[in-house]
């Protein structure tokens, strides 16, 4: 299991209901269902990935997360998860508000642009950073937002939601291994994972 997904799972109470926005091939949902007995639903835009999820026995809808999330009633899920997707969202504040409307709590993870390697690359080479966590050139990246762990804390105040828990982790893009970063997370963590709720 990918280290960051395992960390996300540790924020979820057993037996709860979960909506995974941008669920990909359904690895997290499948893990959550198998290991801690959650009832999961996923939303994913790629037909191939949606089909793969349904074939493996997950309940998944094909569509755009920004639109699909609007259909659910208030508080429909215990948790709404947005894993490694926030940096690709056009209207992050709008999506976070929707997420906290349909979910009692939200779990948001994203690659930390404040990591020292990113900073050093820009400073040292003068080129837009390309790292293992952000492996794209500026012209082909789906990541249209640049977020650091500190940015997200400021964002929580601007938008008005509460951060209940945070895990700063260091792991590779598809890394099974990793560790939690306690000391200077904004400089040393490759990903941030936040458990949030309405302010």
């Amino acid at each position: 299991m990918r280290f960051d997904l395992e960390k996300i799972a540790s924020f979820v109470l057993p037996g709860s209901t979960v909506l995974d926005l941008g669920c990909g091939d359904g690895d997290l949902l499948s893990y959550l269902e198998r290991e801690i007995g959650v009832t999961g639903t996923g939303i994913e835009k790629s037909e191939t990935k949606v089909a793969h999820c349904i074939e493996r026995g997950l309940s998944v809808l094909q569509g755009d997360i920004n639109k699909e999330v609007l259909d659910y009633p208030d508080g429909a899920f215990d948790y709404v998860i947005l894993s490694r997707t926030l940096q690709q969202v056009y209207d992050p504040a709008g999506l976070i508000r929707s997420l906290l409307r349909v979910g009692k709590r939200g779990i948001v993870s994203f690659p930390n642009f404040g990591h020292w390697r990113v900073r050093m690359q820009l400073l040292g080479t003068g080129y837009a950073p390309v790292t293992r966590q952000l492996p794209y050139e500026w012209y082909d990246t789906p990541n249209i937002r640049v977020i650091t762990l500190k940015d997200f804390r400021k964002f929580s105040k601007d938008v008005g939601f509460r951060i209940l828990k945070m895990a700063a982790i260091s792991s590779d893009f598809n890394g099974m291994d990793g560790h939690t970063v306690i000391f200077m997370p904004n400089l040393r963590a490759t990903y941030g994972i936040f458990l949030i709720e309405k302010g």
Partner: protein
């Protein structure tokens, strides 16, 4: 739906099957139809494949579309040239695996493939009903199917599955008998016909009624309105394909000639194809049944039938877990219509999966061999079976 009766490429099949009949609601206990009319006795032609398990928890109802029948899979005899209409999906080890599930398929009420319809004998006159046959709705068809399942001792359906008008029956099942349906797979369907869909059906019906042989529906003792029915079928076939499908299948290619004939023969392949489909159809289908079934489809309006025109309210009674599938090139029941039902299901807090399959074959895509559709259905059914088992154990 078109006829795509293909042999399974793997040669795998359920084998020999038998068409059976169930007759019920004998007078004076006729069936009360949605229109207020009464009908009885009613016969349904049906087939079953596989074995009902001891817990009676593995029954699957397959609902057919406009021109389908109870013969979903297998062969009637060793020399039977073609298998049932969904043989690619229903059989041992297939998407709907007859080694695991007990599959039932019945011919819809109002049709002409063994079930009671306008070409059946009216017991009051001993002559075919013709237009004396009352208009039946999708709801009436489902009510009749329920009577059949009760007769077969089925207590609930693991899944009800169908495409197009079969998909309407699936949706109707979920709203009408919510506790009977564990899960549902509506394919390439809609909760209500668009004006476009009604328009095509109306032109098709007009073609039949304009045929001088139709004679107000009383043609059973003379020549049949074959020309009208063939034209109706040709119109249908246009709506089942797509611009892209037709471009690939026919383009502007000529049929059996190098140059235009400069008369009104079938010059183009597409003309020849439509004529062939039309002529083939009249051999097996009744013109009046075509009128009745298309009208039932046009009348179908799940949102208004069940509550105040709101799809959300219509689905609020449903308990089933859904797998909704649409196809990119289907312009008869386009994806937006599937998305609208998915949206309503979500608002009701229902468990729903949805996939829009990339397919170039238009509305007919649901009947064609499609690895993706097969594996979606297979995976979904495996999950529902597992979850049903768990829930039972928990109880």
């Amino acid at each position: 739906m078109s006829e795509y009766i293909e042999h399974d490429r793997s040669g795998n099949s359920i084998g020999l099957v038998e068409k059976k009949f169930f007759t019920f609601v004998h007078p004076p206990n006729e069936m009360c139809l949605e229109s207020g009319a009464r009908l009885g006795p009613v016969t349904l032609a049906y087939e079953t494949y596989g074995t009902l398990n001891r817990e009676k928890s593995n029954a699957i109802l397959v609902c057919h579309a406009l021109s389908g029948n109870s013969h979903a899979a297998g062969y009637y005899s060793k020399d039977d040239p073609s298998p049932g209409w969904w043989d690619i999906m229903v059989g041992p080890g297939k998407g709907i695996d007859t080694d695991k599930y007990f599959v039932i398929c019945s011919n819809i009420l109002g049709s002409c493939m063994g079930s009671t319809g306008p070409c059946s004998i009216d017991p009051r006159t001993n002559r075919p009903y013709g237009l004396n046959f009352p208009l039946v709705t999708i709801g009436d068809m489902v009510k009749a199917q329920k009577a059949l399942l009760d007769h077969l001792g089925i207590e609930n359906l693991l899944t009800v599955v169908g495409g197009s008008i079969g998909g309407m029956q699936v949706l109707e099942w979920c709203a009408r008998y919510p506790d009977f349906v564990v899960s549902a797979i509506p394919l390439a369907t809609t909760t209500r016909h668009s004006a476009l869909a009604i328009a095509f059906n109306e032109v098709a019906r007009q073609a039949i009624m304009a045929d001088p042989n139709w004679k107000g529906g009383n043609y059973y003792e003379g020549p049949k309105p074959d020309t009208g029915l063939a034209v109706a079928r040709m119109i249908g076939h246009i709506t089942y394909l797509s611009d892209e499908a037709m471009r690939h299948k026919f383009g502007r290619r000529l049929q059996g000639r190098e140059k235009f004939s400069f008369d009104f023969d079938a010059d183009f392949q597409v003309e020849s194809y439509l004529r062939h489909q039309g002529n083939k159809f009249v051999e097996r289908f009744d013109a009046n049944a075509f009128l009745y079934v298309t009208k039932a489809a046009d009348y179908y309006d799940l949102p208004s039938q069940h509550d105040s025109g709101s799809a959300v309210k219509a689905f609020s009674r449903a308990r089933a877990k859904f797998l909704v599938v649409s196809f990119t090139s289907d312009w008869l029941y386009p994806t937006y219509q599937s998305k609208a039902m998915v949206q309503a299901m979500k608002k009701c807090g229902l468990d729903v999966s949805f996939c829009e399959i990339e397919a170039e074959w238009g509305h007919d895509a649901f009947l064609l061999p499609n690895v993706r559709l097969t594996s979606l259905i297979k995976g979904f059914l495996a999950r529902i079976t597992k979850e049903t088992g768990k829930e039972k154990n928990a109880v």
